[in-house]
C-alpha cells in the first residue's frame, strides 16, 4: 500500500511517501518559505524520488492541526483535492501526534506548539513502540495549567519555531509525517468534502461576536 503523507501545520514542512507503512522517501524542511509555494512542488518531488506514480497512491494522510491557521489550511486543501481527484481515501492525524512520534521517544510524551500569550497547543500521549494511549487530548491551554497536570514526561518542541512560553527542559523535534503510520489507530478516515482543519480555536472575530451576543 502506498500512502502520501503531508504536514504543513507549522513552519516545518514534512511530505512523505510510505510503502506498506515504511518510509520510501520524505522531504523535511524547517525554514521560512511558505508552504503555499512549496507543498505541491514537493509532493511531485517526493514521488519522483521514490519512483512512484501519482496513480499508484492508495491513500492520503494529512496533519489536520492544530498549528498555524494558514499552514494547516494549505495541507488540508491539498489533501482534500488529492483525495477527490485521485479518487482515494483521506485520513487525518493530529499535528501534535506527528510531533509525539517523530523522535521515537517512548513513555509519557507532551508535544507542544507555542500559541503565544503563555498558551500552547498540547497533548499527553503515552507512547510504546507499537501502541499508544492518548492521556490528554490535543487542546489549547495555558502552558502552566497543562504542565501542572503532567507528572513525568518528555516535552517536545520544534526549537526552530519562535518559543515564547516559559519552559526550561524540552527535546527539539522536527515533525516527520512518515512516522505516523506506525500507529494506524491515530489515523482518522475523513470525508474529503467535509474535511476541515482542527484549529482547536474559533477565530477571534467569532469569539468577540459570541461574547457580544
Amino acid at each position: 500500500m502506498i500512502s502520501l503523507l503531508l504536514d504543513t501545520s507549522n513552519q516545518a514542512l514534512s511530505v512523505a511517501v510510505n510503502r506498506n507503512s515504511k518510509m520510501a522517501a520524505e522531504i523535511n524542511t524547517n525554514y521560512k518559505k511558505t508552504h503555499s509555494e512549496t507543498l505541491v512542488d514537493n509532493i511531485q518531488k517526493v514521488l519522483s524520488i521514490a519512483d512512484i506514480k501519482k496513480s499508484e497512491i492508495d491513500r492520503i494522510i494529512v496533519a489536520r492541526g492544530p498549528g498555524s491557521y494558514t499552514g494547516v489550511r494549505i495541507g488540508i486543501t491539498v489533501a482534500k483535492m488529492l483525495a477527490k481527484q485521485l479518487n482515494v481515501p483521506v485520513y487525518s492525524v493530529s499535528s501534535l501526534f506527528v510531533l509525539a512520534v517523530s523522535n521515537h521517544v517512548t513513555g509519557n510524551t507532551v508535544p507542544l506548539i507555542d500559541a503565544r500569550r503563555a498558551h500552547v497547543y498540547g497533548a499527553l500521549y503515552n507512547i510504546e513502540e507499537d501502541d499508544y494511549t492518548e492521556v490528554i487530548a490535543p487542546s489549547y491551554v495555558e502552558f502552566k495549567a497543562l504542565s501542572a497536570d503532567v507528572d513525568e514526561a518528555v516535552y517536545l518542541l520544534n526549537s526552530q519555531e519562535k518559543i515564547t512560553i516559559d519552559i526550561d527542559e524540552y527535546t527539539h523535534v522536527t515533525p516527520r509525517i512518515s512516522e505516523v503510520e506506525r500507529y494506524e489507530k491515530a489515523l482518522k478516515l475523513e470525508d474529503a468534502d467535509q474535511l476541515v482543519p482542527d484549529y482547536l480555536r474559533i477565530s477571534e472575530a467569532e469569539r468577540n461576536w459570541q461574547d457580544n451576543q
Partner: protein
C-alpha cells in the same frame, strides 16, 4: 479532434468561493458561486480568517459542481486558471492550492489571473471586447480607470487616492444603520430620495483622472452628526440619493473626460459597484448621447465570480502566460505587470 479551449477557473480572493468552466473565453459551461455574505454580516464586513475557513469548507464542492454542470471530466479540460491576486492572501491561497493540485493530478497547464483583469473580461462573456477601450473598475477594493489598447494590455490612467468607491458605500451605509454589504441597500433607499444635501464632488475641478471619496464620506458623517446634535431627524433616503448622486457625478465626469482625452469610443464598467442602478442608468443614457459603446456585465458577473477569471484566462493561455507548481498568492499585483 476538437480545438475548443475549455478552462476550469477558480476564484477565492475575497468572500465568494467560485468555480466555472469557460469555453473559448466566452461560453459559460458552468458558473458556481458560494457566497459567504451571511456569515460576514455578523461582523459588518469581511473578516479574512473567517473567509479563509469558509473557502476550505466549500472548495471541493464548487469544483465538483462546476464540472458536473458543464458535463465534463477533468480529461476534457485544456487548462486550470486561478486568481493569483490581488485579494485577501489567506483566501487566495485556498483557490491557488486547489488549482495547483488539480493541475498536478490531471497534468494540465496552470494559468494565473489578475483579479481586476477578470472583472474587465467579465464583459467578454456577453460580447467580444473592442479596442481601444477604457475600463472603469469600481468595487469594494478598487476604483480605477484603465486604458487597454489590446487584449491583456493595461495602463492605469486614474485611480482612487484614498477610499475605494465600494468602501465609501459600505461606510456610509453603516452610519445610516444599513446592514452589510451596504451598496445594494443604499441603491434601494436612493430610489425614493433626492439629492438635497449636495455633498462634495471629490477632485471634480482638478485636471486629473484620479478619484477621492474620503472627503465625501466625511461630509456625510459630519452632516449626520450635525443633524443628530441639533435633534433634527434625517431623511435617510435623501442621504442615500445625495451620496449616490455625488459618486455618480464624479465617476461619469472623470470617465467621459478620459474617453475624450484618449479618443476612445468603447467603455466597460466592471466590479461590484457596477451593479448600482443609478450608475448603470446614468452611464447608459450618457453613452447614448455621446456615441460611446458601453458594456456593463450582468449583475452576477459584476460581483466576484470564476467565469470572469476563465474569460481572462483564455487570452493568457493563448499568450502562454503559465505558472508552475510553485505559484503563490499575492495580496497586491500591479495590473500593468499583466501586460503581455
Amino acid at each position: 479532434m476538437s480545438k475548443d479551449i475549455k478552462i476550469l477557473a477558480i476564484e477565492t480572493s475575497c468572500d465568494e468561493t467560485a468555480a466555472s468552466v469557460i469555453q473559448n473565453g466566452n461560453e459559460i459551461l458552468s458558473n458556481v458561486v458560494v457566497s459567504q455574505i451571511d456569515s460576514h454580516k455578523r461582523f459588518g464586513g469581511v473578516v479574512p480568517e473567517v473567509a479563509s475557513r469558509h473557502h476550505v469548507e466549500a472548495i471541493t464542492h464548487v469544483i465538483d459542481q462546476a464540472l458536473e454542470d458543464a458535463e465534463l471530466e477533468p480529461s476534457d479540460l485544456t487548462a486550470v486558471a486561478v486568481t493569483e491576486g490581488p485579494g485577501l492572501i489567506g483566501a487566495l491561497l485556498i483557490g491557488i492550492n486547489a488549482a495547483k493540485t488539480f493541475a498536478y493530478v490531471h497534468d494540465l497547464p496552470l494559468v494565473p489571473v489578475h483579479h481586476i483583469a477578470g472583472h474587465i473580461y467579465a464583459a467578454q462573456l456577453e460580447k467580444p471586447l473592442v479596442f481601444p477601450l477604457i475600463a472603469l473598475v469600481v468595487s469594494g477594493g478598487h476604483t480605477e480607470l484603465i486604458y487597454m489598447k489590446d487584449h491583456m494590455s493595461f495602463e492605469i490612467i486614474g485611480e482612487t487616492r484614498d477610499d475605494a468607491v465600494g468602501e465609501a458605500f459600505d461606510k456610509v451605509a453603516r452610519v445610516i444603520d444599513l446592514p452589510y454589504p451596504g451598496g445594494p441597500h443604499i441603491d434601494k433607499l436612493a430610489q425614493s430620495g433626492e439629492d438635497t444635501f449636495n455633498f462634495p464632488r471629490g477632485l471634480m475641478k482638478e485636471e486629473t483622472f484620479d478619484f477621492s471619496f474620503s472627503g465625501l464620506k466625511s461630509a456625510v458623517i459630519n452632516k449626520l452628526h450635525n443633524y443628530n446634535q441639533k435633534g433634527i431627524e434625517v431623511n435617510k433616503n435623501d442621504v442615500a440619493a445625495s451620496f449616490q448622486a455625488s459618486v455618480t457625478d464624479v465617476l461619469t465626469a472623470k470617465t467621459f473626460a478620459a474617453l475624450k482625452e484618449y479618443d476612445v469610443e468603447n467603455l466597460i464598467i466592471a466590479g461590484g459597484v457596477a451593479g448600482n442602478s443609478e450608475i448603470r442608468s446614468r452611464f447608459s443614457s450618457m453613452c447614448i448621447d455621446k456615441n460611446i459603446n458601453l458594456q456593463i456585465p450582468k449583475l452576477k458577473f459584476c460581483t466576484d465570480n470564476a467565469a470572469m477569471i476563465g474569460a481572462a484566462a483564455y487570452h493568457l493561455y493563448n499568450k502562454d502566460h503559465l505558472a508552475d507548481l510553485t505559484l503563490n498568492g499575492r495580496n497586491f499585483i500591479d495590473i500593468e505587470e499583466y501586460a503581455f
